[in-house]
């Protein structure tokens, strides 16, 4: 557990308030020894491009989070929390460092520029995020359903998408069961 840190809630970490520190024009959120950058939607692709030049060649992971029912999270002052957040995990094999980029995506306008031109490997991740969260990645060459069938309606990992369930069958008479 050397390179894995949770995003700290303010107060847990005394150094969580050093938000004046800027990296690549973006305020830095420290969590342990791992760095998290929360750029705005406009800065996002440009930042990834710059980071790539800095040696963060590998886009390890891209996933979306729906913060509908859990609004509290660490953000630099002045940044407006969106309903969605797209989290990009970057890796610099050379420097053996990881960096996490978190972009806020508003719920009423879930659009974000695609980073496929920067990191071709983000292709499947963006398709997955579109499929499960409905985040529209503009400029993606083939933004189609990846895990769900083409004709599926809705985006099941959104928090307001209902969880379907088939009741488990038991033998006990119904009136006994709650």
């Amino acid at each position: 557990m050397n390179d894995d840190q949770g995003e700290a809630t303010p107060g847990d970490h005394p150094d969580a308030d050093v938000e004046v520190e800027m990296l690549h024009g973006v305020p830095v959120l420290h969590s342990g020894d791992q760095v998290t950058l929360p750029p705005s939607r406009e800065e996002y692709v440009e930042l990834l491009e710059r980071l790539r030049e800095q040696g963060f060649w590998v886009c390890v992971d891209l996933c979306a989070v729906d913060y509908l029912t859990h609004p509290g999270r660490t953000l630099p002052p002045g940044m407006e929390a969106g309903r969605f957040e797209v989290v990009v995990g970057l890796l610099s094999p050379e420097r053996r460092e990881r960096i996490r980029v978190r972009v806020q995506v508003p719920g009423e306008d879930p659009r974000l520029d695609s980073i496929v031109r920067v990191h071709p490997g983000a292709d499947v991740h963006e398709r997955e995020a579109w499929d499960l969260f409905g985040i529209d990645f503009e400029g993606h060459p083939d933004l189609s359903r990846i895990l769900l069938p083409d004709e599926w309606v809705g985006h099941p990992l959104r928090k307001d998408s209902p969880v379907g369930s088939i009741p488990v069958q038991f033998k006990a008479p119904q009136e006994l069961r709650r």
Binding site: V168, Q169, F170, K171, R177
Partner: protein
């Protein structure tokens, strides 16, 4: 000639041992900790251990357990406590045999047998009720028509519980931490770490494929319950807790 050397490898196998077994005829020995279909245990006086607390149902990630507790009838109590499991059902179409229920059960009422060979012809058969789950008067799991029991397979139903019993604390190594099993008494605990980490001489019969022996104090020559097809499962395991 690289083309030809491979032929030696395949040819040599003709004289090697067969690693497969004619399965339904013969079974390979099952691991001691194997997770199989559950049993509901009784105390030695015949009382059921289940107290209807529903911890197992609560922890089940597959939601396949349904428990309904009820107050014990005063004149004819089913379990020693205040309440007992009035309804207890497991739907084996959903069970993933993770054995979290076994770990959760505070009275060691639910444990797992080694049986995984059961196939149903209808969905109703897959829903086991108390009638099927509670052990019989000898403390043995009930044999249902669609289950493939072999002699010796029903013996060791508490192994996973014993393996997990110390809850990670080395201080509790070797401490008997469970109530007895009907017909078997209180079984010996798994050995302490010094013993289990040590290299033991290979077993003479070469049959004990699992290399662990939960009853060190009974001597090493007896691997009865570990061998499939072993008739007398009632070896000195019985003596352990009496």
């Amino acid at each position: 000639m690289g083309y030809l050397e491979g032929f030696k490898v395949t040819f040599a196998q003709i004289f090697g041992e067969r690693v497969t077994t004619p399965y339904p005829k013969e079974k390979t020995p099952k691991a001691l900790r194997q997770h199989g279909r559950h049993v509901l245990n009784r105390y030695e006086d015949g009382m059921e251990k289940c107290i209807g607390c529903e911890l197992c149902a609560g922890v089940c990630p597959a939601r396949c357990i349904y428990v309904r507790g009820a107050d014990n009838p005063m004149d004819d109590p089913v379990s020693p406590g205040e309440r007992y499991g009035y309804v207890y059902e497991i739907n084996y179409l959903r069970c993933i045999h993770c054995d979290l229920c076994v770990e959760a059960c505070p009275t060691e009422a639910i444990t797992e047998s080694k049986l995984f060979e059961f196939s149903f012809t209808n969905r109703a058969d897959a829903i086991y009720t108390k009638a099927e789950l509670v052990v019989d008067d000898e403390g043995m799991p009930r044999h249902l028509p669609w289950e493939d029991w072999r002699p010796g397979e029903e013996v060791d139903t508490s192994a996973w519980m014993r393996a997990t019993a110390p809850s990670g604390s080395a201080a509790y190594e070797g401490v008997v931490a469970w109530s007895g099993e009907l017909g078997f008494g209180v079984r010996a605990p798994e050995a302490d770490q010094v013993t289990r980490d040590a290299i033991t001489p290979p077993p003479s019969d070469g049959h004990d494929d699992h290399g662990h022996d939960d009853h060190d104090d009974h001597g090493h020559d007896d691997h009865g319950h570990d061998d499939h097809g072993h008739e007398d499962h009632g070896h000195d395991d019985h003596g352990g807790g009496h």
